[in-house]
Amino acid sequence: MGRQTPLFKLHQELGARIVDFGGWDMPVQYGSQIGEHHAVRRAAGVFDVSHMCVVDLRGARVRALLQRLLANDVAKLKTPGKALYSCMLNERGGVIDDTIVYYLSDSWFRAVVNAGTRDKDLAWIRRHAPASGVEATERTDLAMLAIQGPEGRAKAAQLLSAADAGAALALPTFVGREIGGWFVARTGYTGEDGFEIMMPAADAVPAWRRLNSFGVASCGLGARDTLRLEAGMNLYGNDMDESTQPFESGLGWTVAMEPRERAFIGREALEPIVRGGSPRQLVGLLLTDRGVLRSHQRVLIPGGGEGEITSGTFSPTLERSIAFARIPAGAGAAVQVDVRGKLLNARVVKLPFVRFGQSLIGSSKGPS
């Protein structure tokens, strides 16, 4: 038996199928996974993401610590509440984890890291923290709900008093604030608008039940995975890990090489890659033949070279199979994938596949 979130018994009561995820007993689906996916694209769904690890970092020199630990630069965070997505790298430039950090005050940042990497992340942070006098506290007292979808924010606001609801609905994208005793952030992992709310563990079950009563669908990790894939968002352990660097993981945009004097861990290993270009890149694939792309399938490049699918699934929105694949840089748009011994045709496409409920595939105005 794995670790359980404060919502575990409710998941069972709601008929969820429970699976192991990074050592946690988590709901993969309550009914139809595709139904849950569509609920988020078309209305609103709620996910239990309490397995993720919330770490509060406090100390006068916390900003300097994060400027050393993270490949993105927390100097970009100028207003309290603003969040930043970043990789935490090892000296070789490999990705230890990806994280979202919130700037709460000049002596307090909050990081959210993955469940499966919790122990090594905490060990890594604590190894580097003492030099800057920063204390890292795991917030196991908090539960976290993600309410996502075009109606997600409005539904979630109904959990709050009128004044607090107004404050929550006024949050700009990628900003979090303490509101009515909860930490409400306009973030997510689905490609839809929504909130992620951290709350005292005891609040989680009543909040979930009320959301259900407002028509918000209970959604499991299965739908979370198809939603994030459509949204072009990486999953740690699938799409990047310690053996891959950000520039071959579609995460070059999160690495701040400027200012040059910022000596973040991994920088030296990345410099030659920035100068010479990454030999491999992570791309989106759309399967043009029938079938389903899955992680670890081999990608064949016409004229030589090959790569590998890092995440693949059936896209409920596109009703086609989609994937991320790590392939040699400069490969053309037409590739083949070895799917259970058959070579199927696929096309390299710009990510994301879907944003705000709309397919971006085949559109002339692609995303930037």
Binding site: V28, Q29, S32, Q33, I34, G35, G222, T226, R290, G291, V292, R294, T313, F314, P316, S321, R340
Partner: protein, 132 residues
Amino acid sequence: MSTVPADLKYTSSHEWLRTLPDGTVEVGITDHAQDALGDLVFVEVPEAGRAVKVGEPCAVVESVKAASDVYAPLAGEVIAGNPKLKDEPETINTDPYGEGWLMRLRPAPGALTGAAFMSAADYRKLLEAEGG
């Protein structure tokens, strides 16, 4: 608890068999199997005329989560694969023992005699033992 019709035979790999009046055998996956797989999104059925051996992978059912082989429960010739499943794989979720059949086989001589299929009661026991 999933449905296990009394008039069918079963395999330990969660296929069901129905002997049709003309002596051919219809094969599908059980309610338990479709429930475990979740929403089916892609099904590949064998071509008519293909000869299959016992235990040979001859169809693929893929859900959002995973791909799974379906094994020929007996030796014989494929009479038909279910054409409906190409565009409506979810039929297996909604009607696993009816419209969601996978293939029809003409058993090879002697293929049915001595083959140890499970009764509905035995299959139910298997599911209980598997905790399903």
